[in-house]
Amino acid sequence: MPTTFYGALLFLIGFLVHVVLWRVRKPVNTTVTIVLVFVGSISFVWLALSSLIIFQELISFLPQEPSGKMLSLLLALALAVSYIMTYPALENDSPTLKLVYLIAQKKRAGETEEELFKSFSNKSTVEHSITEMISEGLVRMEGQSLLLTDRGHRLARIYRKWRAILGAQMGG
């Protein structure tokens, strides 16, 4: 399985770089940084192993044909995209996961809606999201009001169009 193995290896290298960077100092704009870290490190290692003859003896177990190498790169990037899509759930408390955890803790007795309301505050949910949106350049403050930036408008447009295609109402 050289192609699959190589793809997984490239992804793991990107993941290791990400963990080391985050442990040393977590970046402010995590969304852009995590994309750059994975794309940068995976592409760099792939290019180095593909082009530098010095490594050829060491990597004889990896795919040698260009199509195999390309497929490994694609697999590594696909794995990276999957991880990046999951990352927000790691960084922020997912309310759905937290709800299920709180309900599970009470076992057969269950948890009432009122008790669940008390476990969530606007500060930890809405306020925290707005702070992050400001740091990621999706939203800006103007006096007392919050306004979408061009980037924020693009995000809203994509989801508005997609939900219109699905025929779904506003989520959240």
């Binding site: 192609t3 699959t4 793809g7 963990v19 985050w22 442990r23 977590k26 199509s67 195999g68 497929l71 490994s72 697999l75 696909a78 794995l79 995209v81 899509m85 999951t86 927000p88 790691l90 309310p95 759905t96 996961l97 709800l99 299920v100 309900i103 599970a104 076992k107 057969r108 007795a109 948890e111 009432t112 809606e113 669940l116 969530f120 505050s121 606007n122 949910t125 809405v126 707005i130 949106m133 999706l138 939203v139 009001s145 919050l146 306004l147 979408l148 924020g152 408008h153 995000l155 809203a156 989801y159 508005r160 997609w162 939900r163 295609i165 699905l166 779904a168 506003m170 989520g171 959240g172």
Partner: protein, 166 residues
């Protein structure tokens, strides 16, 4: 040429999956985002397996496994992107702000979207998907799949941030 074939297989399967999901959701066959995606994903496997079987005579099995994994990743990423439209707080706040060109104060945002609304909407979705059930005034866990996801996320969080307090 081999790479083109491989890319066509993945693109065709993903496109089939997306179209089926839209059809299933729009026509109320399954009105949950997760459910409609799972159906779309399953149907998308049909061209993947069909063309994959045909390609198996032309390309090594190792590369076919890579193609299947790429399709799985595409399906998983699509599920997350779609789910963000349904559950993401950022997307919801962005849509609220997009509907107010003059902007919104924090108080006005809270009038439209607050933690109580978040809890109510999520409880409704969890009830609809059968993950929890009502027992009198209380909610009880019915399926453990989201709890399993909670522990996976917990482990990864520990691995990436070193501690839960990040």
């Amino acid at each position: 040429m081999e790479m083109v074939n491989v890319l066509v297989v993945v693109a065709l399967s993903v496109t089939t999956g997306v179209l089926v999901q839209v059809y299933v959701y729009r026509n109320n066959i399954n009105r949950t985002v997760a459910g409609s995606i799972i159906i779309g994903f399953g149907v998308g496997c049909i061209p993947l397996i069909g063309i994959g079987y045909w390609l198996s005579e032309q390309i090594p099995i190792d590369r076919l496994v890579a193609v299947i994994l790429i399709y799985l990743c595409a399906g998983y990423s699509f599920f997350h992107a779609n789910n963000m439209g349904e559950t993401s707080r950022r997307v919801r706040i962005s849509l609220e702000l997009a509907n107010a060109p003059e902007g919104l104060t924090y108080k006005k945002i809270l009038n439209r979207y607050n933690s109580d609304i978040q809890v109510t909407r999520r409880l409704a979705r969890l009830l609809e998907s059968g993950d929890i059930e009502r027992s009198g005034a209380a909610f009880c866990l019915k399926k453990r799949r989201i709890l399993a996801m909670y522990y996976v996320v917990y482990l990864f969080r520990h691995l990436v941030f070193g501690s839960m307090a990040h």
